[in-house]
């Protein structure tokens, strides 16, 4: 509750154009949003870019936030930014090239040493379809409820539940298999 009050005060400050309040939002959400972008793109440079874009959008759009779940509002913007990124053909091509290089490098390294430090999850996530991967990451990093996620995705709550369950079950199977 106290956290909600604090957040509400920070948002009021942001709406007044207080850059310190925006910095506080960066400290509160940068890690989660970065994780969300990183798990979806698998690339730290692109994630850096998308995170910067997210906070610039946040400054521009803060006046349109009309209460309700801030996380829901913020991750809606993050999702739109990710979709814009996917739509951009040039960037998509760049992403595929980067991913190809990355996977090749990871595979070579894995064969050489069997290093446990390699991000196995990031490799296995590629075996899920984009929508499922996005849903899993949205749930994990935004910490939204199923009700909020279903509303954001404009689909029935049963659909969101079923998709997430299927996705996580598959992820578990490929990670443990």
């Amino acid at each position: 509750m106290a956290e909600s009050v604090d957040l509400a005060q920070i948002i009021v400050g942001c709406r007044k154009g207080d850059s310190q309040c925006f910095s506080q939002l960066v400290d509160m959400y940068a890690s989660r949003c970065y994780g969300y972008f990183y798990r979806l793109t698998g690339n730290s440079d692109i994630s850096d870019e998308l995170l910067s874009e997210l906070f610039v959008k946040l400054v521009e759009k803060i006046a349109t936030y009309n209460g309700g779940s801030f996380e829901s509002w913020l991750f809606k913007i993050a999702t739109n930014i990710f979709h814009d990124f996917l739509r951009s053909k040039q960037r998509r091509k760049k992403l595929l090239e980067v991913r190809k290089g990355q996977l090749e490098a990871e595979f070579t390294e894995y064969k050489k040493s069997g290093d446990e430090q390699i991000d196995k999850l990031q490799i296995q996530l590629k075996r899920l379809d984009t929508d499922t991967r996005e849903l899993i990451m949205l749930r994990f990093y935004s910490q939204l409820s199923f009700k909020e996620m279903a509303k954001m995705r404009s689909e029935p709550i049963g659909t969101t539940l079923a998709k997430l369950h299927r996705g996580l079950k598959k992820l578990r199977e490929i990670m443990e298999g």
């Binding site: 850059s19 850096d48 906070f55 400054v59 829901s72 939204l144 992820l171």
Partner: protein, 165 residues
């Protein structure tokens, strides 16, 4: 601000399936999320965060400047309107000012001929109008063909005078 903490996932799942199936699904979801927790994504770089904060500070400044400009423009517009109103008020209600209706008005003539010429034309036009009326009334005293011919001659004559100036 989000209601995830208040959400009872088991109850939610039981709305769609039996208790045993809901328990199994809950287990799958929790285990999947456990895997995600065990494999944390990298953290954003401190330098990146510093850059973002600097970028925000730069973005906030123009927003403030824009707001100031917007207010300034509104004040300027209101001031201009007040000045115009004051000017109108002064010109309308100043006692020493001669009312517009009493002021002599001078018009420049757009016609190249003088008043005498226009009087001649008016007389001829009246004549033509009278002849036309007679024709329309079917006046028996007037011979129609000769009247029309006469009328045409008059019109040609007027047109000639007109172009001569």
């Amino acid at each position: 601000m989000n209601d995830r903490n208040q959400e009872n996932l088991k109850e939610l799942l039981e709305q769609f399936m039996g208790s045993e199936q809901a328990r199994m699904r809950l287990e799958d979801i929790e285990r999947g999320e456990q895997i995600l927790r065990e494999h944390p994504a990298p953290e954003p770089d401190d330098m990146l965060l510093a850059n973002i904060k600097a970028q925000i500070a730069l973005h906030v400044l123009p927003h403030r400047a824009t707001a100031f400009k917007w207010i300034s423009y509104r004040v300027a517009a209101v001031a201009a309107a007040a000045i115009v109103l004051a000017a109108v008020w002064t010109s309308l209600f100043n006692e020493h000012t001669i009312p517009r209706s009493q002021q002599p008005v001078e018009y420049a003539s757009v016609f190249p001929w003088d008043h005498h010429d226009s009087a001649v034309f008016n007389t001829r036009l009246e004549q033509i109008e009278n002849d036309l009326q007679a024709l329309e009334m079917g006046d028996e005293d007037v011979d129609n063909d000769s009247a029309i011919t006469e009328l045409e001659i008059k019109v040609t004559e007027i047109a000639g005078d007109f172009w001569k100036g």
